[in-house]
Symmetry: C2
Subunit: 236 residues, 2 copies
Amino acid sequence: MGPLTIIPISGIPEIRPGDPLGEQITTAAAAQDTPLANRDCIVVTQKIVSKVEGRLVPLDHEDLDARRALVEGESVRIIRRRGDLIISETSHGFVCANAGIDLSNVEAGYAALLPVDSDRSAHRIRATVRVAAGVDVAVVVSDTFGRAWRLGLTDVAIGVAGLAAVLDLRGTQDALGRELQVTEVAIADEVAGAADLVMGKSSGIPAVIVRGLEASFLAEGRARDLVRPPSEDLFR
Amino acid sequence: MGPLTIIPISGIPEIRPGDPLGEQITTAAAAQDTPLANRDCIVVTQKIVSKVEGRLVPLDHEDLDARRALVEGESVRIIRRRGDLIISETSHGFVCANAGIDLSNVEAGYAALLPVDSDRSAHRIRATVRVAAGVDVAVVVSDTFGRAWRLGLTDVAIGVAGLAAVLDLRGTQDALGRELQVTEVAIADEVAGAADLVMGKSSGIPAVIVRGLEASFLAEGRARDLVRPPSEDLFR
C-alpha cells in the first residue's frame, strides 16, 4: 500500500447559503497548486455544509433555556443529561452532545444545526466537483463528537459519498492465513479524524484532501452504515 | 498548516520476544527509502508490541470457557455482557471488548494480551529509535477498539510518547475571534486511526510513519490522558 497524503485546502471564502461549495473547493485546491484528482477524498466540515444549506438559526448563546429547547427539538431521544449537557440521539441516528448543534465558528446570535441529510450533502458536493474539476472524488462530511469512556473529541463522518463508511473484511485472512477477527473497520470515521489533524480548530480550514486511499475503499457507503442499530447497542 | 504524509513501513521481520523493535523499525524505514526523521510520529500496533514484550499466552481458541476466564482475569470491571462478548475495563482504564485480548495475527494456540504499560512501551521504542536512527520521534501504540453507538472499529492510542494525547485548546479562539467551544481534541486517537488507513488488516503492516504533524502536537502526553475518569463518565 502506498503513502496517504492529507492536504489542507486554504483560501475557501466565507460561505453563504446556496454557495456552490464543490466549485469553491475545486477553485481553492487549484489555486494552492493541489488540484483535485480522481480518487481523492474530500473531507468537508459540517459547519460549512450547514451554512451552505441555510441551517443557521437565531440563538442567544447566553439564553440556556432557548439552547436547551433547541437541542431537545433536534433530538429524537435523550440518552443522558448532566447539568447543561445533553447527550441525545438525532433524527439521523447519531448519538452526540447537544444534538450536534454548534456555536463556535458561527456568527454571534446564531447556531448551526446538522444538515438534514449529510449523505445527500456529500453527494451534492461530489456532483459539483465532477462538473467543476472534471474528476471523480469521494466526499466525507465530518463533525466533532465526544465518545463514551475516552476523553477528548475526534472528528467522525456524518455524511459519505463514494467511500465505504464501514469496510467489511469478513472472509479475508490475517497475515498468518487465518480468518480475521476484526471484520468491520469504520474507515470513513478514520478518514474524518485524519483530516482533522490538519484542520486546526482555530485556523478555520474547512476542507481537506485525503489522497492515496486504497481503491477498494472507494465504494458506495452512507453514514447510516455507521449507526449501530439501537437494538444491537448495549449503551443506548 | 502543511500536508501530512502517512507512510506504511513494510519489511519488518516476524517479531520475537525481546527484539529491539525501535531498531527494526529504523532499519525497515531506511530500507524502503523513507528513513525516520525528527518530528515523525511512529504508530506501532499493539500486537507486535505485545509480542516483543512476551505478552503471548497459550489459549485454545475454541475453548470458550478458557477464553472467558482469560478475559475476566484481564478485566478490573465488567461493563456489559452479551453472549460470548464481554465489554470490560482493563487495568489501564480502557473500556473495550474482551479486555483487548487478540486472536488474529497471533500463532494458533496463543492469544496476545495488552502490554502491561503501553506508555512505557512507547517510550522504550522512542529511546531505541533515538539511538538507532539518531532522531527524535513521537511514538503511538495503537489498538483496534469498538465504540458505543457507532458501528465499525477504529484504531485508537493505548500508548503515547512525545505526543500530546489530548490537545487542550482552551483559551484559543475560533476563526471569528470567539472562545472555542470544542476544547479538547484526542489527537493521539486521530493519529492512530489515520495510520490504520494504510495498515490494511490483512497485509500485516505493523508500523507507520505519520510525518508533518504540527509542532505544538509534540508534547509529553500519555494514554492515561485519554481515559475518562469513571466519575465523569455517563456510560460506565
